[in-house]
């Protein structure tokens, strides 16, 4: 199985405080890994480290460059003047690629279709609800056809139907070789998802496998 992500003994610090303290994990093509743990246990810090947004103080990180990331919180202003469709399309950008192709537009459209937000493409993001905006970010991540999909609390704000839709999309992507790493503090989000491996973290360390 092709490996998409390998972290070994990762330590990530804010100042002198390690929020992630010696975590190792791997994810192969077609695999799904759930990372759970209490608030403040270091889940988001770990995903930011994997995404390349925070440096590792020690340890190693090897991953495919074709990664898409759905952050827990978007740092942009809520009233940023952009349409939902414009945001989704940015998910197809890669280093060295400056223009969107016809194919990119098709992928963005089908991602929006799959997530049931096709009708919202021309809406300005400031007019969207929280769950609608989350689906915009999910569509942005999946339309880039990633080999590694990193999701930080993607179910927050999703209704039961959207939740089901999300998992069926993820299964489709896994069958095409995408590895999925999903963070959630709420175990009920991943109840009845048999294919996932569950890693529980606490105080920045792996506390158990379920």
């Amino acid at each position: 199985m092709t490996e998409r992500l390998r972290i070994k003994d990762a330590v990530i610090k804010y100042g002198d405080n390690p929020a992630v303290n010696g975590v190792s994990l791997t994810a192969g093509a077609g695999e799904m890994i759930f990372i759970t743990g209490a608030n403040g246990s270091g889940k988001s810090t770990l995903t930011k480290g994997i995404a390349g947004l925070l440096p590792l103080s020690s340890g190693t990180l090897v991953r495919t460059p074709r990664m898409s990331y759905v952050p827990q919180y978007e740092e942009a202003d809520r009233d940023f003047p952009a349409r939902a469709g414009e945001i989704v399309l940015t998910g197809t950008q890669r280093p060295g690629k400056l223009f969107h192709t016809r194919n990119d537009r098709n992928q963005a459209e089908s991602a929006m279709n799959a997530l049931g937000i096709y009708d919202l493409a021309d809406r300005e993001i400031r007019t969207l609800s929280g769950g609608q905006l989350r689906r915009v970010f999910l569509a942005r991540a999946i339309c880039g056809k990633p080999e590694l999909l990193l999701l930080d609390e993607p179910c927050a704000g999703l209704d039961a139907h959207s939740h089901e839709v999300l998992f069926s999309i993820l299964r489709g992507m896994m069958s095409e070789g995408c590895a999925v790493v999903m963070v959630t503090h709420d175990i009920s989000d991943i109840d009845g998802i048999p294919e996932g491996r569950v890693i529980r973290i606490s105080g920045g360390r792996i506390a158990g496998y379920e």
Binding site: M67, Y69, T90, Q93, L98
Partner: protein
């Protein structure tokens, strides 16, 4: 109207018209990024440093651009770096640096006995637009517009979410650098016309107005450019008719447009 037509028969007016409108459009397009990224103060800081450079160059009697261009570009790097690193306290650093630069410029001008040039630096002068300035303005606007078209998707992505861009492996610092250099060049080229005190308004105001009515990023960029162009033309014409420095009237036109857009948007909702 006949005055306006008569005016265009003067080469200086014609040069001011072309150079000024090109620079206004470039400034406003870059302004979109600066406003959305909360870097509004950059233009202000850079123009004060531009003022100090102009004072220095006239004290030393060297070509203004030889001192202004490198020092403003260097300052733009420093300001970008400081505001990236310290987020909010960047504002304070810019405010300190810009008032220090302004004070320094005044001291240099006074000591060197070139203080009579000072008001033309501060308030700008359309008469100051030479053939060479016009050429610079044309080249600069080609560079700015071409970069914007070429990098449009990237600039949108980074302006909306720098973190997301970085997660895709994109070198966001490089794009930040490009935007700083272009802003510095626009400030240097534009400050002679509008004055160092007012160039930052030419950068920021059209984007703020456009943000009120634009729907989506593309329309924001386009409306910002149009607003800036219209405000410049209005300002230039009025400055000739009532004989007031063009920069001031351009800014007041921009403010008037901003107020009208606010009223218009308020009436609609």
């Amino acid at each position: 109207m006949s005055e306006v037509i008569e005016l265009l028969s003067y080469p200086f007016a014609y040069r001011a018209l072309i150079a000024g409108s090109l620079i206004s459009v470039c400034a406003s397009v870059l302004g979109v990024i600066l406003v959305l990224k909360h870097y509004s103060l950059i233009g202000h800081g850079l123009s004060e440093i531009g003022f100090a450079s102009l004072s220095l160059s006239s004290a030393l009697s060297v070509q203004p651009m030889y001192i202004a261009a490198p020092s403003v570009i260097t300052a733009s790097f420093v300001i970008m770096y400081v505001s990236r690193k310290y987020r909010t306290s960047g504002d304070t650093a810019i405010a300190i640096a810009s008032s220090a630069a302004l004070a320094l410029g005044i001291v240099i001008s006074s000591v060197s006995g070139t203080a009579s040039n000072m008001s033309s630096y501060l308030f700008g002068s359309v008469l100051a637009v030479s053939e060479a300035d016009l050429v610079v303005a044309v080249i600069l606007s080609v560079i700015v517009i071409a970069s914007f078209i070429l990098l449009y998707n990237r600039l949108f992505l980074i302006t909306y979410s720098e973190d997301y861009a970085r997660s895709l492996g994109i070198n966001t610092a490089m794009y930040q650098l490009i935007v700083s250099i272009l802003t510095a060049l626009v400030v240097v080229a534009g400050m002679r016309i509008t004055g160092t005190l007012l160039i930052s308004g030419v950068i920021i105001l059209p984007a703020v107005s456009a943000k009120i009515v634009a729907r989506g990023f593309r329309s924001l960029v386009i409306i910002s450019g149009i607003v800036s162009f219209v405000a410049f033309i209005l300002g230039l014409i009025m400055s000739f008719v009532i004989n007031i420095p063009a920069g001031a009237v351009v800014i007041l036109s921009n403010v008037a447009i901003l107020i009208l857009m606010k009223i218009f948007a308020g009436a609609k909702s």
